[in-house]
Symmetry: C2
Subunit: 336 residues, 2 copies
DNA sequence: CTTCTTTCCTACAACGTTATAGACTGCGGA
DNA sequence: TCCGCAGTCTATAACGTTGTAGGAAAGAAG
């Protein structure tokens, strides 16, 4: 139904290659020929067929982005930033949701379903370091997140340890010494939880504040509900604390809610800091101090690196590990 | 580099068509032939080229979803639901962000950039009813949202007027009579703001409660900050009210924050209800009563309708207007 | 023993592009 | 006059699939 390059060629009285040349801004075309072609294009409402282009060129102009789920604000904001960064390069983004499930993540890597994508930005949650080999796939892949380090691909991530240390230092600088942590994962070393907990411990150690395991609240997931539950458990143990480090903003917000229910005042009785700098953190009551992990920078870098790999897939370039700049964002929840 | 159907055919000693038949589960193939082909596929790591398939079949298996921005929780949750619904049908989703800008929305409709998509789910924010004609495009399009009614395409939407009336009725049932509204748009009739305000007025009228324009706070956008600002303005006018209807959850949450800052207790002094049932509404302090507009149903219906139009683009079927079921979700912010 | 049907398979022509190789102008220089 | 070269254009062959048409073999029906 739609007009093809052949229809345009016929209407303009030129060869199909000339039409193709006009569409692709090939320089050596006589102005009047070009105009005839453009007129025909206009008249027939011609627009080049992307599938045919992709078939010929081997490129689709589409990047895949795999995240656990968009309902998690962090990933929604990441996706937003990725789409913007891709658009600046004329690329589109196709989003996959893995649910953070290891099997689905592995399946995604193995599956040929993302054939119509030039490369993948992959943010796993269920996979762990021992799955690193699965990242050796036949298409350009850039890894995001903190689940896997030293894998076979480029990796764009945040400075988890340093940023968590800065968050903890911030609380210490306010005179807090009993700092609870919400959202730790039992026994985890790598992964956001493990790394951020490490940063916390580094800060304590440097300040010569003793580490008290009783202050560490564990959760499996990082939703608001988990932060709330963990805080309730912490309160029920009767342990004494004057600050809370939520390993992400949602946990911190959930915890903050429970603290307020229990009658504690923030920041007077308990100071709270989160991690992620979600939009939401600016509008909670009180507003939430947090770490801006450099999400925009991560998105832009990741897209840039992926685009580079797509442009030259066979470059022997070794996998790069790129870390974004972070920033402590001080708000009411840790005000002096 | 990657293996093609020809390589597989050669390795298996069959014609390319037989390979194609195996890949597409064509029934009449001898088991041993089929096995030989599958072995070759396995050995060569063959996977069919999507671009070529799309070129042949005219279908890409990808739906476009255009929303203002994913940073807005409502759209993130909508996108989540759409991706799930699409996946259930074996479809993928490519997301565009329009920023809610009318020009970009119009450009998106006119542009051939979404060529590699079988159809579009379009949720405009900047366009209005007078732009309805622009929706007559050459590809399957399903309209979402409340900006345009009676357009030339299928439209899946929520029962804004009825739901807003139910929200207001809920507040009235709690004995509230001075119900402020946050987020109205000056002079708007169609659009979420206009429709929901209409529902509010309908409820008041039915209850014979006078409508007081002094209770209506206007905002341009529907972010948290706007809800906060609007509430501050409302408070500064000194007008008396015992309940707030936030035209969406984010507005309500922003307003709630300011109310609490001002020392008012929720729900004792002021009851608050929102609209959207964001995940967040379950975890605010207090938890926010709201309207569940049937987001999942909207997503599933929209994908189903679009898939139907894609399957049969020339069916003379008239444009349908489909409305999802809503539900009042009562939480702490309106507890008796 | 035919004839018809079903099963299984193949050759080849699309689908709509872009790349390649080459043809035809003029024009400047030897 | 002839050659080379830049500019402009065309014919045709890919890209990797699936659809069409049809052939050979094997049963089923007459």
């Amino acid at each position: 139904m739609a007009a093809t390059i052949r229809d345009v060629a016929q209407a303009a009285g030129v060869s199909i290659k000339t039409v193709s040349n006009v569409m692709n801004d090939y320089p050596h075309i006589r102005p009047d020929t070009k105009q005839r072609v453009l007129d025909a294009v206009e008249m027939l409402h011609y627009s080049p067929n992307q599938s045919a282009r992709s078939l010929r060129s081997g490129k689709t102009g589409v990047l895949g982005l795999a995240v656990p789920e968009l309902s998690l604000s962090y990933f929604a904001e990441l996706a937003d930033a990725v789409i913007r960064a891709a658009e600046a390069r004329g690329l589109k983004v196709l989003i996959e949701q893995t649910g953070g499930d290891r099997d689905r993540e592995l399946e995604l890597l193995a599956s040929p379903r993302l054939q119509l994508t030039d490369g993948l930005l992959f943010s796993p949650l269920g996979m762990a370091n021992e799955d690193a080999e699965s990242l050796s796939v036949g298409f350009p892949l850039v890894l995001l997140g903190e689940r896997i380090f030293g894998g076979p691909t480029d990796h764009v991530t945040m400075r988890n340890v340093e940023a968590a240390r800065a968050a903890t230092d911030h609380l210490l600088s306010k005179g807090r010494r009993r700092i609870a942590v919400v959202g730790a994962h039992e026994g985890e070393v790598i992964g956001s939880a493990g790394l951020r907990l490490q940063g916390y411990r580094n800060a304590l150690e440097a300040a010569e504040v003793p580490y008290d395991p009783a202050l560490i609240a564990h959760t499996t997931l990082w939703h608001r509900a988990n932060g709330a539950t963990a805080m309730r458990e912490l309160l029920s143990t009767g342990v004494d604390f004057d600050a809370v480090f939520g390993l992400n903003d949602t946990l911190a917000l959930g915890a903050m809610r429970v603290l307020q229910e229990s009658g504690r005042r923030i920041p007077r009785d308990v100071a709270v800091i989160g991690f992620d700098d979600l939009d939401e953190a600016q509008y909670s009551l009180p507003t939430l101090s947090t770490i801006d992990p450099g999400r925009t920078e991560i998105a832009e870098t990741a897209v840039a690196v992926l685009a580079e790999r797509i442009a030259d897939p066979r470059s022997g370039l070794a996998p790069r590990e790129i870390q974004a700049q972070f920033r402590v964002v001080e708000r009411e929840s840790t005000a002096s």
